[in-house]
Symmetry: C2
């Protein structure tokens, strides 16, 4: 088997320059040396989030910051409107329920983006809605939501806009401040080109007002502890030091390329992948395709689970399959982070060949 070509939408490949940093001797976090590094990456993260708001670094999976976005900014019984168009959207609903909120799911057909006007109507109808939760890019369907339009809609109300940009950040454009996004959730293992283990949360002034009155019990995720830490360029609990050092390097790679160029590269590669998928006779699953990843609807009769397995185990190319109700029906390939045009070409070549073999085999 060849070296595995990882085309999954997270974890994404970690560039060698970053991996070299991950292999360096560890340093202690309660030192001026580390504080300087942490302060530096915290500032530079803002430029990727396109915000002047503070960006907090949590040690955990992205889900940790999804939880942080609920527990720090709501009280028991609060209503939240969750745009539900895929697996990760559903996680917001589960978290909200777990902490005693009353989530209303705005169901969106899988593969479609939410209509911002529908959100406006809902917010008009129900003034008690405290927040709107939505994915920038819903990784399970490859849908890009129109956060700019949603930002305008939510800004007219007292609700806050919570955007899960775990996948999407630094691949699909997200102008946190210009678009009025209150909370942005990020993760290390996507376009930030690191292994999983860090999650990020940017917090607007409008959202911050909620924190001291929010009554949901919390400790590890308590924003106030992170704020107190950040005042001293520190974190409340022992941070994933190695990943923070690696983050310095991956931010450097992004800065060298330029964030606008990164957006353009992802968009170009996504357009390329869509064209190739269509040329293979497949449809795109997403009606609002993202630049983060592309989802292709597999031809009738193709077992998607087997396809992914054969590609990964026999041909060294890892695609993602479908999740939940999409299991076996789609394949997903990533464009963000360190994935290059030639990686994509290779992945698509193997996809085409494997589809042909399986079609012949099934006749």
């Amino acid at each position: 088997m060849k070296t595995n070509l990882l085309l999954t939408p997270g974890p994404t490949p970690v560039p060698e320059a970053v991996r070299r940093v991950l292999a360096e001797p560890i340093i202690h976090h309660r030192t001026p040396q580390y504080r300087k590094i942490f302060q530096d990456v915290s500032e530079r993260l803002k430029k990727v989030f396109l915000t002047k708001n503070p960006v907090y670094t949590y040690t955990g999976s992205g889900t940790m910051c999804m939880e942080a976005s609920i527990v720090n900014f709501h009280s028991t019984g609060d209503q939240t409107l969750v745009v539900e168009g895929g697996k990760f959207a559903e996680r917001f609903t589960k978290i909200a329920k777990a902490f005693g909120l009353k989530p209303t799911a705005m169901k969106v057909t899988y593969g479609e983006a939410v209509n911002p006007e529908a959100v406006r109507e809902e917010l008009k109808k129900n003034k008690d809605i405290k927040s709107v939760c939505v994915q920038l890019c819903e990784t399970s369907t490859a849908v890009l939501n129109d956060i700019k339009a949603l930002g305008k809609v939510v800004a007219e109300t007292d609700a806050i806009l919570i955007v899960d940009a775990i996948s999407g950040l630094a691949a699909d454009r997200l102008e946190t401040d210009n678009w009025g996004v209150d909370l942005v959730i990020g993760g290390s293992q996507k376009a930030l080109m690191l292994p999983p283990g860090l999650a990020f949360l940017s917090v607007s002034a409008k959202a911050r007002q909620r924190v001291d009155t929010a009554n949901i019990p919390r400790f590890y995720s308590d924003l106030r502890a992170y704020e107190k830490g950040m005042a001293d360029a520190d974190t409340p609990w022992t941070p994933a030091v190695g990943l923070v050092l690696g983050l310095g390097k991956s931010l450097e790679l992004i800065e060298q390329e330029g964030l606008e160029n990164v957006f353009k590269r992802c968009a170009d590669n996504a357009a390329f992948a869509r064209e190739k998928v269509k040329a293979m006779g497949m449809e795109l699953f997403s009606k609002a395709p993202s630049s983060t990843l592309t989802a292709a609807v597999l031809p009738q009769g193709i077992d998607g689970k087997k396809l992914v397995k054969v590609m990964r185990d026999e041909k060294g190319v890892t695609f993602a399959g479908g999740q939940g109700e999409l299991e076996g029906k789609i394949v997903r390939m990533c464009h963000m982070g360190a994935i290059t045009r030639s990686d994509l070409e290779e992945g698509l070549r193997v996809l085409r060949a494997t589809l042909e073999e399986m079609s012949v085999g099934s006749k």
Copy 2:
């Protein structure tokens, strides 16, 4: 400045063999390849925890699993007895309060171990105590608690024994099953010789009975999600894949040396350090010294904060200072993980020289 010699009680130095694994290309976690690795390390972790109970791996700081040990096994209003003899013990109290428990602090003089008979008396007096929280090794004071005796005391009751072994595990002996410990909390950045970012929780059958009736809201830390994941050799949220791969290697290093030999080496090095500290005319802070780290009481007139700074920034040796009320008064040096006798000798040599310089300087 020389290469920094890290003698802090976490993070501890990461061996080169482990760092090489951390630098390897990342793999995807929802694959049979990763599941096999995760299942394997989960089984091998049990041998370090000396338990047949499941050991769950959380992505987060050790504090994440301290929180998990509270929220999954208690209900609002539950009473817990916290053995409070240092900074990390106090964290248990803070977590318990944050989630609506009623913690009773059993104050223990800093530097002393808890008297198991005092715990027995407290449990006799108050049958409503649902749990006893204690550190194996209280890192802030270098005290080793007698978990074996505490295990007997708590086993006589319906309470569960929660041991924070974040530092201590695989350095000071902890026989989870033989001693009747219900929950053991571990962390990656101590004797497991990894960067921070993973936390571990072993769960006894007695503790498990509590989980389904425990009413504290939880999501990220919800044990039931981890159990469901583990049934398929998986985790509920994206794991810190790189650290899990590194864990395979650090467990291999422990297995090669043999856990009993690891305990003996740490004990021998701790005895060596204590002897040297006394030979320098200093007292040991801990009346119940651990094999994990040694805390030396600095001579009158020595500014401990300055000492640590000079050693670290000018001499390339990082010790830990005192925390909280011990700030400036003690230095702490670590014996666990990959720290060798010659590392300790070098650290102690630099400590002696720096103390002499500072004594001369202050005259």
